[in-house]
């Protein structure tokens, strides 16, 4: 029985563990070593980081601002969508919202990028609507294919995912607390902010952190939607590899993206501990 109960489960799990170790842990270690290795001497040092800050300092700031802004917007919109689905208005409109918001969920990033490349272009539908509505003059139509396009695309694509998580959490809340607050005269917005959001805070944070990591991983959107400089660090990393074969600087930039994701996750966890888990 020892083999069945002790060894067999490990044997069953082992192949999958080996794949994760070889294809994830080894490259991860490799990227860390390479980031802190001096290109000439092969010794430990910060040369790659000095070079990264010198060449890509603005792009770092740009990446932090875009990912931060996108993550905040995704969090706010997912709460708004989830809140509308739970607190509702006209049943038909709620059904329409439920059907509508999840469309971008399984649309690949590369397809979303191609959509935006046309939608946000000078002759795209976005400008057509603005011109038709009289918001802008036909000749002052401008392309949104810059930081606005990158931000729009990430929020467009990722909100569906965050809203799916958040609305699921909101739907499983005890309806009695919401009813009680409503009966005591609280408006819908107040119920959302003071009763519902504190109870689903963890889910909102998970949705936001996963979205942040995704945004820091996607190469196609900044390549196809953002034109010119500054740009996202993912584009710089691909450039260092493709044009110079410079793994040192690329991995230093990669380390900074790990650091950004880890800082946000840590900041959240610390806040969760300091409030003692009270809602």
């Amino acid at each position: 029985m020892t083999f069945r109960t002790r060894v067999l489960p490990l044997v069953l799990t082992l192949p999958a563990l080996v794949v994760v170790a070889v294809l994830f842990l080894v490259p991860l270690g490799y990227s860390l070593l390479s980031a802190f290795e001096e290109t000439e001497t092969g010794e430990f040092g910060f040369g790659n980081f000095a070079k990264s800050f010198e060449f890509y300092g603005w792009d770092m700031l740009f990446t932090v601002i875009i990912t931060g802004l996108a993550t905040l917007l995704i969090g706010a919109l997912s709460i708004a969508i989830g809140g509308y689905l739970v607190l509702g208005g006209h049943p038909r409109l709620v059904a329409a919202m439920r059907w509508l918001y999840r469309w971008p969920l399984f649309i690949p990033f590369i397809v979303a990028a191609q959509c935006m490349r046309t939608f946000l272009a000078k002759n795209g539908i976005m400008n057509n609507l603005l011109v038709t509505a009289g918001v802008i003059e036909p000749l002052s139509a401008q392309s949104f294919l810059d930081w606005r396009g990158i931000l729009f695309t990430f929020v467009w694509k990722q909100t569906a995912f965050a809203a799916l998580l958040v609305s699921g959490a909101m739907a499983s809340l005890d309806p009695a607390t919401i009813e009680a607050a409503r009966n005591l005269g609280a408006g819908k917005l107040r119920v959302l902010v003071e009763i519902i959001v504190p109870q689903v805070r963890v889910t909102v944070a998970v949705g936001m952190i996963l979205s942040l990591v995704t945004i820091l991983s996607v190469l196609s959107v900044p390549l196809m939607v953002g034109t010119g400089s500054p740009t996202m660090l993912t584009v710089d990393m691909a450039f260092r590899i493709n044009s110079y074969g410079d793994y040192g600087v690329a991995n230093a930039l990669g380390f900074l993206t790990y650091l950004l994701a880890a800082t946000v996750a840590w900041f959240y966890l610390r806040r969760g501990v300091s409030t003692g888990g009270t809602p």
Binding site: A16, I125, A261
Partner: protein
């Protein structure tokens, strides 16, 4: 003189007035309700424009034979580029079959790894179980681009760059998170008493697995397979570093066409990639049932 504010009832739940019996409901006067309904309707209409506008633009481009600024709509319409894409010599169909073969191999490898692992994680006692679950989640917690760069560097040593095997391995790493977590949840949702009943009636452990546990977990496993298939079909970054230029998947073809300014080819390729994604979105709930979803991550 200060007049007391008119008393107003809040909340539709406080006082229930049967709909259609009264013009003044608990929510306020009829015009106010209408105005709010209109406002909500407009907001949802705006959202519909933001969600479907970009997709509509994709469709427009796929039929545009000539279109430039400041024209709002294409100057000439036609199927010319559809014919180009579906022409066997153009290479798009070859890319599609490469993508599908890679996705099928990725599904096969992911399931071969994750069905035993998911079963062990759900049904057997494992030392460090939560650490192992976490390890499978870790690739999703790190920005993956620099992982792919270094995978490509390691694969170069083993001549795996630009090969089908290399791309399948990278896609499997990406898909393994979903497949391990969802199959573990699917096995966890199988009633243990049914397995015990089979064992009591004399079935061996493996027979109980193949005739009871596996069939009952099948819908969840199918869902994870579809997930992995889609993720592989749509994957860009890993294929870009490990596969290109020898292995030309459909997303790589789309990227190349778009960057070269060939919006028609890029848009048609994007529409082909959209078909399985939207089909899955519309039927995801049929496979991923609540009892499995509630076990994810436990």
């Amino acid at each position: 003189m200060v007049l007391p504010a008119p008393r107003r009832l809040h909340g539709g739940d406080a006082v229930r007035v049967p709909a259609g019996l009264s013009f003044e409901t608990a929510d306020g006067w009829v015009p106010a309700r209408l105005a709010r309904l209109l406002l909500h309707g407009l907001a949802i209409g705006g959202l519909a424009f933001i969600i479907f506008g970009p997709l509509a633009n994709l469709v427009l481009w796929s039929f545009a034979e000539r279109w430039y600024f400041p024209h709002k709509l294409p100057l000439e319409w036609g199927f010319k580029y559809w014919a180009t894409v579906f022409n066997p010599r153009a290479g798009a169909m070859a890319s599609l079959s490469v993508s599908i073969v890679i996705a099928l191999l990725t599904v096969a490898l992911s399931l071969a790894l994750s069905v035993p692992a998911g079963y062990a994680l759900a049904k057997r006692s494992l030392p460090l179980r939560s650490a192992i679950m976490l390890l499978f989640l870790l690739p999703q917690a790190f920005p993956s681009l620099s992982i792919y760069i270094n995978v490509a560097r390691i694969f170069y040593e083993f001549s795996l760059n630009g090969t089908m095997v290399g791309v399948v391995l990278v896609h499997t790493l990406h898909g393994l998170v979903y497949s391990v977590w969802i199959t573990a949840a699917a096995f966890a949702a199988v009633d243990h008493d049914l397995e015990l009943a089979a064992r009591n009636l004399g079935a061996t452990a493996s027979r109980a697995f193949f005739t009871v546990s596996l069939p009952l977990a099948a819908p969840g496993i199918v869902a994870s397979a579809i997930f992995v298939f889609l993720e592989s079909l749509d994957e860009f970054t890993g294929s870009y570093f490990v596969g290109a230029p020898e292995i030309q998947t459909l997303p790589l073809l789309l990227f190349g066409a778009s960057m070269a300014g060939n919006y028609q080819i890029a848009s048609i390729t994007a529409l082909i990639l959209l078909v399985p994604s939207i089909a899955f979105m519309l039927m995801v709930e049929r496979f991923l049932k609540g009892n499995v979803l509630s076990k994810v991550g436990t």
